[in-house]
């Protein structure tokens, strides 16, 4: 019996979208794998096992090969991410200006370790490599919004203001 729940049909649509993308590619083989995974992560938000299996079948390669690539590149994730992704730049320019302390302040404030996502899927916290905005060091990016010259004491107000702004 097929599943009638809304999540199921939504999921089916997402798989269809990915399937159409794969069909539109000039080559449906291993050489397109990274490109397909980028699109898959864009569609699903992350790369769960079912998606990896689906991609493997479509490109006619072993699932292990797909997982090998997913686990190799830090841009790909096989766990869901939070609604708000907080990225603290840990490039050298930001590091020497105290981004380590800013990350610690976020860890304390959100009660998460770097790389973790909260259980309610609200926040993901991560330290990222250079975002190339060294003139604004230390830099924090929450979803698309960039905060420059951040000090650890600004962390609480950044979280509050960001939530207020996005909710309004």
């Amino acid at each position: 019996m097929s599943c009638n729940c809304s999540q199921g049909s939504e999921n089916k649509e997402l798989f269809n979208e990915l399937g159409e993308f794969i069909s539109s590619l000039p080559e449906q083989n291993e050489s397109s794998l990274i490109q397909v995974l980028h699109r898959a992560q864009h569609i699903f938000g992350y790369l769960p096992r079912e998606v990896q299996t689906y991609v493997a079948q479509k490109l006619n390669i072993p699932v292990a090969r797909v997982y090998g690539v997913v686990s190799f590149y830090s841009y790909f994730t096989d766990t869901p991410r939070g609604e708000y992704v907080v990225q603290v730049c840990m490039g050298t320019g930001c590091f020497v200006k105290g981004s380590g302390k800013v990350l610690e302040a976020f860890e304390k404030s959100l009660n998460l370790k770097s790389g973790e996502t909260s259980d309610d899927l609200k926040f993901t916290l991560s330290g990222v490599r250079c975002v190339g905005a060294c003139g604004l060091a230390p830099v924090v990016i929450i979803n698309e919004k960039v905060y420059g010259h951040v000090q650890s004491e600004d962390v609480e107000s950044i979280i509050e203001n960001h939530l207020v702004e996005t909710l309004s």
Binding site: Y75, G91, T92, V96, R129, V131, A133, G135, L136
Partner: protein
């Protein structure tokens, strides 16, 4: 739309000149003006897009549409003072402009004809406002060759690029034999700007000579070095110059396809590149039979996915092929067997940016700039503890002192310079005694660092050199692909020893072991990542051994950075407000109201809650 021949392109170049007329005008001629807003990542993040929209709105509001235009352009480099705008033809340079300033700029400057004084840059050395870009000390010693179009043209307008001699170099090489093109590059002395400095002409010539019908050009835009952002700025500010250079390289080596391998973390650069590729195809500057020459070439984009090792060319090729980005042994060079086993030439973004202008101006012009072994200019991302953080382009041979003090404006907050780190995780820390060394590939290598892709981080007395080495090792350890043992296990063991030292558990024997293992990792790793990963350790031990010894023997961190070796103490500034003792989670602070409080060091967990709670900054780490 399609440009059919070289003659048509030259005519278009002439016809497009009015587009840039205002920006090239020597003197103020009339009421017409153009406002160029920086659209580079730094300024973009600081709301330059909103600023541009606000300016456009105000122009409309004041009915100035016929006279005043506003456009986005590439990075001006002066990121610390962003968002930046430059007004032509009177050449006025505004810094730290916000959308709220739009009204004043339009009313006072565009209508009233008088620059807005408060938005001009104040030169710290003379404490005076400086109205034009060229008079600012940050720009005086710079020579913008790779960045020639950044800040001048709109990167999303191919016609502006053509007006600025764009694609004329490609047209010119069609009149040359491919061999003459590679020779031109060899004669110019251009070397790889990605870090290793391999002669570009030699690489092209080897690929040209290799047997094979199918060959490839790769543009390495996987800029993973933390603290470097020149490739990103070039792609964002002048994407057509990279496309043109790739086509020139394709013609020289006999390739019909070029790949740009770019970080997925650079969305703005990807967007600008996509626009540029589309425009070039529409004009027939990419595709089949370009300008009627019979030469076919197209550029495709491949996304990276966050792996530093993919900056290494063999790993990069694996990644383009859809696999894990693991490097392979160069028993046969990629110029013979590269991407999909075909002859391939991989060049860095900044290297490509130099190519069209070399073709246009000639090898002699280019090799007259720079030092004996390193020709031309180099773009550096100047960052860290320096006043003018930003992107700078200087002739090879400029000294570190000129970069840090004349261009960078020195160290802020009256701190003393300790070292300059160049080359990122593969480079080293250069102490102040080498400040007057002219920078080129060889001189940096001889003092234990390297050019790298051009990250240049200034460190002051508040930076702990052991901690800096640890920072880079954390990076390389995480980014090691794991294929070869010396790099996978070696960097891990090196990091463990550094952690031991910064936590006060190191021994002098560890210092010897660090050096010994560093040598092993350098000698035996498979690719450039491992071969250079220990450099930050080797150079800091060489020049700052006393700091390592202080951590080990004296159990102190001279720069007051390594937490495990520090104590939190309450100074006599304490007013006895009790706030600290109330926030302390482990009740380590004792003292009664209006009395000096004391921290019990045994109990203290160094959470620093008391430091933030103290209203009079009486609590410090030392």
């Amino acid at each position: 739309m399609r440009i059919q021949s070289v003659e048509e392109l030259q005519t278009l170049h002439q016809n497009n000149q009015p587009l840039l007329a205002l920006r090239r005008a020597e003197a103020y001629v009339g009421q017409e003006r153009i406002i160029m807003v920086c659209g580079g990542t730094g300024c973009h993040s600081a709301q330059s897009k909103e600023l541009k929209e606000a300016l456009a709105e105000k122009i409309k509001e004041h009915n100035l549409e016929a006279l005043v235009d506003v456009k986005a352009t590439g990075c001006f480099g002066f990121c610390a003072e962003g968002p930046i705008i430059r007004v032509f033809p009177d050449d006025v340079f505004y810094v730290k402009v916000t959308p709220e300033d739009a009204e004043d700029i339009i009313v006072e400057h565009m209508k009233g004809g008088k620059p807005v004084e408060r938005l001009l840059f104040t030169e710290p050395s003379i404490n005076e406002k400086v109205p034009t870009m060229h008079d600012i000390s940050f720009y005086k010693k710079q020579l913008r060759i790779a960045l020639r179009n950044c800040g001048i043209i709109d990167p999303e307008e191919i016609d502006e690029y053509i007006a600025a001699e764009g694609y004329l170099a490609l047209a010119k090489v069609f009149g040359m034999e491919p061999e003459a093109v590679t020779k031109l590059m060899t004669d110019s002395g251009l070397r790889g700007r990605g870090g290793a400095g391999f002669p570009t002409g030699m690489k092209w010539e080897a690929t040209r000579r290799a047997a094979g019908d199918q060959k490839y050009i790769i543009c390495n835009a996987d800029e993973g070095d933390p603290g470097a952002f020149m490739d990103r700025s070039l792609l964002e500010g002048d994407p057509h110059s990279i496309i043109e250079a790739m086509a020139i390289a394709g013609y020289a080596i006999g390739a019909d396809t070029g790949y740009v391998y770019i970080r997925a973390e650079y969305p703005l650069a990807i967007e600008r590149l996509e626009i540029a590729i589309k425009q070039a195809r529409e004009r027939g500057l990419l595709g089949e039979n370009i300008l009627g020459s019979g030469f076919n070439f197209d550029v495709l984009i491949k996304y990276g996915a966050g792996a530093f090792v993919c900056g290494e060319e063999t790993a990069l090729m694996r990644s383009i092929e859809g696999m894990r980005g693991e490097p392979f042994n160069k028993t046969v060079f990629p110029s013979e067997r590269g991407l999909w086993g075909k002859p391939t030439s991989t060049n860095n973004v900044e290297t490509f940016a130099n190519v069209p202008i070399i073709v246009n101006k000639g090898a002699d012009w280019y090799n007259s700039i720079g030092t004996a072994t390193s020709k031309g200019t180099k773009v550096f991302a100047l960052g860290g503890k320096v006043s003018n953080v930003g992107l700078v382009e200087v002739p090879m041979g400029t000294t570190l002192r000129e970069l840090v003090y004349d261009i960078g404006g020195g160290i802020p907050n009256d701190r003393a310079l300790k070292a300059v780190q160049t080359g990122g995780p593969s480079g080293g820390c250069i102490p102040t005694e080498f400040l007057d060394t002219p920078i080129d590939y060889e001189s940096l290598q001889s003092i234990g660092s390297m050019m790298g892709s051009g990250g240049m981080i200034v460190l002051d007395e508040d930076d702990c050199m052991v901690n800096i080495a640890k920072f880079y090792l954390e990076f390389t350890c995480e980014e090691s692909c794991g294929k070869c043992t010396p790099c996978r296990i070696g960097t891990t063991r090196l990091l463990e020893m550094l952690e031991k030292i910064t936590s006060g558990k190191g021994t002098l024997e560890d210092l010897d072991k660090l050096q010994e293992l560093s040598e092993v990792v350098i000698d035996s790793s498979l690719c450039g990542l491992g071969k250079t990963a220990p450099n930050p350790i080797v150079s800091t031990i060489k020049y700052f051994r006393d700091e390592y010894e202080a951590h080990i023997v004296d159990q102190t961190c001279p720069a007051h950075v390594c937490k495990d070796l520090l104590q939190i103490v309450i100074t006599d500034k304490c007013i006895g407000c009790t706030k600290c003792s109330r926030v302390c989670p482990v009740d380590a602070i004792e003292g009664s109201v209006k009395q000096l409080h004391v921290i019990d060091q045994e109990t203290c967990i160094k959470c620093e809650a008391c430091i933030s709670a103290c209203p009079v900054n009486a609590i410090i780490m030392q």
